[in-house]
């Protein structure tokens, strides 16, 4: 799966999360920070992670979630890493 395809999928998920700054979703890049740029409440991150697992049909390791950075790049990397693990 291409990295841009993953980002587009992430944006689709974020459009369903009403506490995320929706205006900024038009310009999401790998450098975008969920918390600093999109103002995602920290309590909402776990719901986003659960939606990512469903959309991309995978299950993250708990340790990977604990160590997950707040940039879009970190999430894209984790999705690819988890997909490669199979």
């Amino acid at each position: 799966m291409e990295r841009q395809e993953i980002i587009d999928g992430l944006v689709e998920i974020l459009r369903t999360v009403r506490t995320v700054n929706q205006e900024k979703l038009n310009s999401v890049t790998e450098e975008t920070d969920f918390i600093a740029d999109l103002k995602t409440p920290s309590t909402e991150m776990i719901n986003i992670v659960a939606k990512i697992e469903q959309k991309f049909n995978l299950e993250f390791d708990d340790d990977d979630i604990d160590d997950l950075g707040s940039k879009v790049r970190d999430t894209v990397n984790l999705i690819i890493k988890t997909q490669e693990k199979g």
Partner: protein, 449 residues
């Protein structure tokens, strides 16, 4: 210790009521003798699994809300959209339906009270709100996801705790209005609504706080209904409008309903000095327990002690007794006889608002206090709808060896129990609510004096 001379005024109120658009609509429907009870499609959809099918319920749409359903699991409300933009999305994310109602009702109460932002956010402003049940709709799906579908815990959602904890309504309201005083929830089953307002009254009366947002809510949830349906205590066999019939000979249970009521309380002199409209003055609040070890059966002795405690503090003889009056066979008769035993057979009237909107459980005491404030405002007594025939025979318990109350049948008290609303000079109202576990609550309110 109560501080002498320190009084508590009710200066604002807000609520959400079955089959009503707002407080004005509720007022109009109550005093024109209407019932707010309807057949409930949610109960009907389960066919013979559910005994009772009537309720005073409120849909999301009626509350101006839209559900955002989970994309992961069916029937799980991820969050709600406030179509009227009254509550920010961040606050909606942490709330179950009852907590949203509590926030909406709070905004209405504060608007009516005309508190400034500084007053609302003060260290002297408390929030005391609770409900009778858990955040059932959230819990149903979160636990089903984990236990039945075998999903990881996070897939049940990251808001199960804040949307279901006992303290959720007060927590959500406090986060919305940003008060810096006391914030807590008091639980006492079906006396919860009045109990929270009673506790808030004491915080002000005892000098700990100057203002409080207080009340009770019961969010529409089929689980709540089913729990009581299983106990065989819900009304059945009547048309919706005739289902709730306190004191009537043919009553066979209560109507499980939902709603919310929030009041704004303020230390009387502060309210007066800023020119606030005083809706009512709380004379006193008294509560106790039956102490007989019985979870469910009402206690005549407990209610006698309740009246004694209440009247010792006020000395006011009420013009109207707003009873708990659920429409259950034993509860209504014990309650009426304890009222008569205390106040005699004349000089006051009995009002049972549950006859019009059913039993709102944790919200009952709060919504019925609002109904009582409306009685003061309108100078009209609300009826005991459907109390068509009163028992001409003694109740079974009246013929037992341990009964020491009145020895007349309920029919002897027909004149106390109006079947229609009517005008009368009302200065003092006593509000009564009881709950499982033998908990009893009483509040006396009056016109401004």
């Amino acid at each position: 210790m109560q501080l002498k001379g320190r009084k508590v005024a009710i200066v604002g109120m807000g609520g959400i009521f079955p089959n009503c658009t707002d407080l004005a609509d509720f007022n109009q429907k109550l005093f024109s003798n209407q019932s707010l009870i309807r057949e409930w499609d949610q109960a009907l959809s389960h066919g013979k699994k559910v005994r009772s099918t009537v309720s005073g319920y409120i849909t999301e749409e009626e509350a101006g809300l839209e559900v955002v359903w989970s994309t992961i699991f069916q029937n799980y409300p991820d969050t709600y959209i406030d179509k009227l933009s009254r509550i920010p999305d961040g606050n909606l994310a942490t709330a179950d339906i009852g907590s949203i109602w509590a926030m909406l009702n709070t905004l209405d109460a504060i608007k009516m009270a005309n508190w400034t932002t500084a007053e609302t956010e003060s260290e002297q402003t408390a929030v005391v709100i609770s409900s009778g049940s858990a955040g059932n709709i959230i819990l149903r799906n979160a636990w089903h996801t984990f236990f039945e579908l075998g999903a990881k815990s996070r897939q049940g959602g990251g808001h199960t705790v804040d949307r279901t904890m006992i303290f959720r309504e007060a927590a959500n309201v406090s986060c919305l209005i940003k008060n810096k005083g006391v914030s807590e929830s008091i639980g006492s089953a079906c006396a919860t609504g009045l109990g929270n307002i009673g506790h808030a009254y004491r915080l002000i009366k005892y000098g700990l706080q100057d203002r409080a947002i207080a009340g009770g809510v019961e969010g529409t949830a089929l689980e709540t209904f089913i729990g009581f349906d299983a106990m065989q205590v819900l009304s059945r066999g009547f048309s919706p409008q005739e289902s709730s019939r306190p004191f009537d000979k043919n009553r066979n249970g209560f109507v499980c309903s939902f709603g919310g009521g929030i009041v704004a309380l303020e230390e009387y002199e502060m309210a007066k000095s800023r020119g606030a409209k005083i809706l009512a003055v709380i004379d006193t609040y008294f509560n106790n327990s039956d102490g007989d070890g019985d979870m469910f059966y009402p206690s005549f002795a407990g209610q006698q002690r309740l009246w004694k405690g209440l009247l010792q503090e006020t000395g006011h003889r009420p013009d109207v007794v707003k009873v708990h009056g659920t429409s259950t066979p034993t509860g209504d008769s014990i309650e009426l006889l304890s009222v008569v035993d205390t106040l005699g057979e004349t000089g006051y009237h009995v009002s049972a608002p549950k006859s019009q909107f059913g039993h709102m459980l944790g919200a009952a005491g709060a919504v019925e206090l609002i109904s009582s404030i409306l009685m003061l405002e309108n100078q009209m007594v609300l009826p005991c709808l459907n109390s068509t025939n009163l028992n001409p025979e003694l109740e079974n318990f009246q013929t037992g060896p341990n009964w020491n109350g009145p020895m007349k049948p309920l029919e002897a008290y027909r004149d106390l129990i109006p079947q229609q609303a009517f005008a009368k000079e009302i200065n003092h109202i006593t509000c009564l609510n009881y709950g499982f576990g033998g908990t009893n609550s009483a509040m006396s309110i009056s016109n401004d004096y």
